[in-house]
């Protein structure tokens, strides 16, 4: 904070100096952006600045201000019916979304204005020292050389801003409003409610449904743990088996396993899900062989369903680990194994003291991304049994195998309970961020980015 104010002070001082020492071209540029550049012959820069100022100002004044001015209340005029005609009032959704967009436009304008002033200052100083300014051609050419990064990143950054950053900010705001099925624009307004939704989520008993939340969170963590580490170790075991000396047809075994990566999950998982249904083929065979006398309700019993999901996930997940480990196994120096052999170590010992430590060290980042991917593993849960079975003990449509993300999805689609969905989304973010931070700070590798180059 202190640094911010110090930086701000310095910046303001620089702006002041620019104004005092600047000639009339520079001074006019404070109002009409790009003016100085134009008069000094930097036509490309000047036109770009002028166009951006005009465009942004037009957007803010003509379009954005309408919305931005109402952002504190999110609208006050309700939609009502006048006879048969519907008279539309304020639309809270639009006010919030476009209000945020306008806010961003204002910041962009301030930033560009600052950039414009700095450019003027630099140009003036250069001319004073008797140097020449870059010509228009050079400016354009630099976009493919010195400033190539700006050309490359412009579109991706813009895309991420519009379709990721803006929606995320919007949804974070939604978490602090009462936007749900009974407050749906355009017919109804919604408004700011402060921390009300968070209280509801954590509250236990009465209005709150903290019990359900912690239940779902608990299962999400258990699931992610087992899904990550079971696949990891079993995948490693399979890879070691396939790579064992004297085993033939290595390529065939690998190809068979990789089938589950290749076939789109919605085909394979929906089919496998049906295989384990009460009237599915697994139950049918178990009955036929007389191993059981009654069909096992795999998907109706919470414990069975949870175990089964973890097991089926092995079917999907083992091949990934197998592929990665296979490549890395070759990197372990063969001398290590030879000397271990001479010392009379059995295979289990060599695995425990050579293979495993090496693997854990090298695949640390992989385990982290796997774990986080599993926290958000929508497909496996949803395609297998949609988070069911439901239970009376859980509120808000949650089922026993629901992850936070599938719950969030149900909340959005089935209940239109956007406010709580947004709160859960924020919770998922917090869980992910905390785990990543802990792991990152304890992991020795990958910190030094430049080290690889």
């Amino acid at each position: 904070m202190k640094y911010f104010f110090r930086w701000l002070g310095k910046d303001l001082k620089e702006i002041g100096i620019t104004f005092r020492e600047g000639d009339w071209k520079t001074k006019l540029s404070f109002l009409i952006m790009g003016f100085g550049q134009l008069l000094r012959g930097q036509i490309v820069r000047g036109i770009a600045m002028l166009a951006l100022e005009g465009g942004l100002l037009y957007f803010i004044i003509d379009f954005g201000w309408n919305y931005l001015s109402k952002i504190l209340t999110l609208g006050t005029v309700e939609t009502y019916k006048e006879g048969r005609k519907t008279v539309y009032g304020d639309n809270s959704f639009l006010i919030l979304l476009y209000g945020l967009l306008t806010l961003v436009a204002v910041f962009a304008l301030i930033y560009l204005w600052r950039l414009n002033i700095r450019q003027n200052r630099e140009a003036e100083l250069r001319l004073k020292r008797g140097k020449r300014l870059p010509t228009n051609g050079e400016d354009l050419a630099s976009l493919f050389d010195k400033n190539f990064d700006k050309t490359l990143l412009a579109l991706p950054v813009l895309g991420i801003f519009v379709f990721t950053v803006l929606p995320i900010i919007f949804m974070i705001c939604i978490a602090f409003t009462n936007y749900d099925a009974t407050h749906q624009p355009p017919s109804k307004l919604f408004t700011w409610t402060g921390l009300e939704n968070f209280k509801e989520l954590f509250g236990i008993g009465g209005q709150g449904f903290g019990g359900t939340f912690f239940y779902v969170l608990g299962w999400t963590l258990i699931w992610a743990f087992f899904a990550t580490f079971l696949t990891y170790f079993l995948g490693m075991a399979v890879a070691i088996m396939i790579n064992k000396k004297g085993i033939r047809l290595k390529k065939l075994w690998r190809t068979i396993l990789v089938m589950t990566i290749a076939v789109p999950q919605f085909v394979s998982l929906l089919y496998v899900g049906k295989m384990f249904a009460v009237d599915g083929i697994v139950n049918a065979y178990l009955l036929k062989w007389g191993w059981i006398s009654q069909a096992i309700p795999f998907w109706q019993n919470a414990t069975y369903a949870r175990i089964l999901i973890i097991v089926i996930n092995l079917w999907i997940g083992i091949p990934y680990t197998m592929l990665i480990v296979t490549g890395l196994l070759m990197n372990i120096p063969a001398e290590l194994y030879e000397s271990a052999n001479i010392d009379g170590a059995n295979p289990l010992q060599t695995f425990w003291s050579i293979t495993l430590p090496y693997m854990l060290f090298v695949t640390g980042p992989f385990l982290l991304t796997q774990f986080i991917g599993n926290l958000n593993n929508f497909n496996v849960i949803f395609l297998l049994n949609q988070g069911n079975p439901k239970s009376m003990a859980l509120t808000k449509n949650a089922g026993s195998t629901d992850l936070l993300v599938t719950w969030l999805y149900k909340m959005t689609i089935n209940d239109s309970n956007y406010k709580i969905a947004a709160v859960i989304g924020i919770m998922v973010f917090i869980v992910t961020a905390v785990i990543s931070l802990i792991v990152y700070n304890t992991m020795p590798s990958v910190k030094d980015e430049e080290g690889f180059q």
Binding site: G159, T164, W253, Y271, V272, I324, F366, I372, V446
Partner: protein, 280 residues
């Protein structure tokens, strides 16, 4: 070979064969069911009593829009594969090779953004697409736009690969008078064939499984479905009994081209995931 070793190898073979059976069993079932002539959902036998092509005929007949859905998905997959790869190459090159102000900040912001669950923003994205007129029957361009727009954040694997290309090559090229753009097009891209193929392959395969967002954007309009949305509805409808074997047939038609493509490019896929796993 010692006796002990022979036994241990024999055990390994047995385990591997068992694993293979488990891995292939569902796929064999899927293929057999798709040719089943008898009506009904899952049945208690594997080999159909009567083989027929009726399920496949249904898919291509007037009764279903399967061809349209297939076309939708294929269009999305091809466009996403090309455009997403272009975006990722641009971002990776800028982040790997150029040093500019705010580079670290940008990477950190993207890292943090990636920690938000994707479906959180679903309603907002739907609204944005609706403003552009890209929902329901026009869902296809909408889905392409969404996938491509945020693909810049998936640069990790590709940048990791670019990082391994020695920087001295760039410096030499600059001394010879090449611009940054020329270095990218004439040097880095030709040297990165494996990772570009990997990126394209992954981008191509993702739309085939996209259920969540695709179903939301299509919003119940059959024209805008992709195969995943349409066929998932078959399994979850009340008339599941009637559609199950058709689902299997459609599943086979979806799986075959994707699987063949994957098997052909397996080498590059392995290279990509291994590199990505180690560098994170």
């Amino acid at each position: 070979m010692s006796r002990k070793k022979k036994i241990s190898n024999a055990i390994t073979y047995v385990v591997l064969i068992l694993i293979s059976i488990i891995w292939l069993f569902p796929f064999v079932g899927l293929v057999l069911q798709s040719f089943r002539g008898e009506y009904g959902g899952m049945v208690d036998y594997l080999v159909p009593k009567q083989f027929s092509l009726a399920n496949y005929q249904f898919l291509f007949g007037d009764g279903s829009k399967f061809v349209r859905w297939y076309g939708n998905t294929l269009t999305i997959a091809i466009f996403v594969a090309i455009l997403q790869t272009l975006v990722i190459i641009c971002v990776s090159y800028a982040l790997s090779r150029m040093r500019f102000k705010g580079r670290k900040t940008l990477m950190n912001i993207w890292l943090v953004l990636g920690m938000f669950p994707g479906f959180l923003t679903m309603i907002c994205l739907y609204f944005l697409l609706k403003q552009l007129g890209l929902t329901q029957e026009h869902a296809v361009p909408g889905l392409i736009l969404i996938s491509v727009a945020s693909s810049g954040m998936g640069y990790y694997v590709c940048k990791g690969y670019f990082d391994t290309i020695p920087k001295s090559l760039d410096e030499a090229a600059i001394l010879d008078g090449a611009t940054r753009a020329q270095i990218l097009v004439k040097m880095i891209i030709p040297m990165s064939k494996p990772i570009i193929i990997y990126t394209m392959l992954v981008a191509f395969m993702a739309p085939w499984c996209d259920y969540i967002f695709a179903s939301y954007v299509a919003f119940g309009n059959e024209e805008g479905y992709n195969v995943a949305v349409a066929m998932t509805r078959w399994v979850w409808t009340n008339d599941y009994q009637g559609y199950f074997t058709r689902f299997c047939a459609g599943g086979i038609l979806v799986a075959i081209p994707v699987t063949i493509l994957f098997m052909c490019l397996q080498k590059y896929y392995v290279e990509g995931v291994t590199g990505g796993a180690v560098k994170g």
